[in-house]
């Protein structure tokens, strides 16, 4: 059955799709398959000899308590970054949307960290928290708190989370703002006529209508904090002290490119890919729901 609402073609469609399929094939499926293959192999440091080791690389990860520690660190880090940047983004979006004047100004300024590279964010916050002469660490010292992210794992975690969330909040802010703009004005006016105050309006109208956006952002933020915060960590703590801020992606890089353990690094990549695919499936499930609404 031919639908009138779609073009048909035997070759044009493949011509249109070919650049994307080629790129995805070469830079996505080929490496993904290679990672799978290598995760079952062991290679010496010079790549001269390769032996099949079955699931040994995965078992090694499973037995390695420091890898399991990294899993735990990644989850702590991701929930702190996701939670705080979603909360701040929503808070700022709600107030930017509701102020009578100045909202254009606030929007412009609050968007700025979106443009800033994660590595720059890391450098900026490291400077403020530097021991002993950073502005914030000095200020903390005057009220009796000794800050040292080179020695204290907790301080290091706070520093990386702050730098990562500072960078991520504007992204959530702008999506929430777009979501708020999409809410029909008539709904808000109707609630005002019924005498609902701003607090009530937030809980009964804005928040429920923002849940699709919030779910979408939740997944995006988890992916961001799992995988794209490498630069923040590398610029602030280099995974230290010890391995206290060494997330999974940081380790995959470190073991592969500094430690030259390609088998283990490939196994780590496979574990990471499995995690992301699980997240993507969850997101698609949710997106389909959103279409039905």
């Amino acid at each position: 059955m031919e639908r009138l609402s779609a073009f048909r073609s035997y070759w044009l469609v493949w011509l249109l799709l070919s650049p994307q399929l080629l790129l995805v094939g070469v830079f996505f499926f080929w490496p993904a398959v290679q990672a799978l293959v290598q995760s079952f192999q062991q290679q010496d440091a010079f790549g001269a000899s390769v032996t099949w080791v079955g699931l040994e690389n995965f078992w090694a990860l499973w037995r390695d308590t420091s890898y399991l520690g990294s899993v735990q660190i990644t989850f702590i880090f991701a929930s702190l970054v996701t939670g705080s940047s979603l909360f701040c983004g929503l808070l700022l979006a709600i107030f930017t949307e509701r102020v009578a004047f100045g909202s254009k100004f606030y929007q412009a300024v609050l968007l700025v960290p979106y443009a800033i590279a994660p590595v720059v964010s890391g450098v900026l916050w490291t400077f403020m928290f530097a021991t002993p002469n950073g502005v914030i660490s000095h200020w903390l010292a005057t009220i009796g708190l000794n800050w040292n992210h080179l020695l204290s794992g907790r301080d290091a975690m706070i520093l990386t989370v702050t730098a990562a969330a500072w960078k991520q909040t504007p992204y959530n802010f702008v999506f929430f703002l777009a979501g708020l703009h999409a809410i029909p004005k008539s709904l808000i006016e109707a609630s005002e006529m019924d005498g609902a105050g701003p607090w009530r309006r937030f809980w009964t109208i804005q928040l429920p209508l923002l849940t699709p956006t919030a779910f979408f952002l939740l997944v995006i933020n988890i992916v961001y904090s799992f995988f794209e915060t490498f630069a923040v960590i590398d610029a602030t703590t280099q995974g230290g002290p010890g391995r206290d801020t060494s997330t999974l992606v940081y380790r995959a890089y470190f073991d592969g490119f500094q430690g030259m353990d390609f088998g283990s690094s490939a196994a780590q990549s496979v574990v990471l890919m499995a995690m992301v695919i699980a997240l993507t499936v969850i997101q698609f499930k949710f997106l389909e729901k959103k279409v039905i609404y």
């Binding site: 609050l110 916050w125 002469n133 777009a178």
Partner: protein, 282 residues
Amino acid sequence: MAKKNFLVEAFSHCILICGVLIVVFPLYLALVASSHTPQELAQIPVPIWFGDQIWNNYAAAMSGNNDVSFPGSAARMLWITFVIAIIITFGKITVSLLSAFALVFFQFRFQKVCFGTIFVTLMLPVEVRIGPTYQVVANLHLINTFAGLSIPLIASATATFLFRQFFLTIPKELIEAARMDGVGPMRFFWDILLPLSKTSIAAIFLIQFVFGWNQYLWPLIVATNENMYPITVGLRRMFGGTDSPAQWNVVMATAILATIPPTIVVLMMQKWFVKGLVDIEK
């Protein structure tokens, strides 16, 4: 009632001003630091008002004539970053427009398979498959080339997904009318679809430019030659490790230089950004 509204308004401004301060303060400190000598920055605490070394520090950063741990010329690194960002932005927009067009407006065999093949890459940033992708790029002899630095980053389907979401909001009647008038697919693409997509293209331009400009991990492993360092990697090398004392004045000047271009793009295009996102969200 009016008084209550006034209180809510004042409270809102307080929250927003706190937000603005948290955004601006680190950047302000960076600017201040880039105007001092290293000796002045070694004081406890660091000065929070401007010094008189602005010109010297920025000149030193741009030329690379300075004694930081990695003496790279910021001018050269900014150029590398700019080229990478432009290739990624335009490459991604072109590739994604074409494939989203094919996926939404055509009916063909293996459509589901193609859809799945492309979107499985959606959430898989290059960081996750860093080692194997590096090996592919090395096999293709693309280490230390602009192609190697940019093309693998075009492969992900984020922009394709956003264009698809937008195309799905275009009413089916439009394409039916076009087909009844005998308009072919490519004319439909050029004369109808592209003009309608202007706002989405602007939003995606902004997202991809910032994405390309701020790349870090990928160039860190693909640019092994210091001549091919983008500004993010160079900045990190200048700043050294946590154990080496940093030349904060030149480091901060470089950080500011790295921040200016994407910030200008974001500020200039923010109107379309929000509007484009509203379009995509619908």
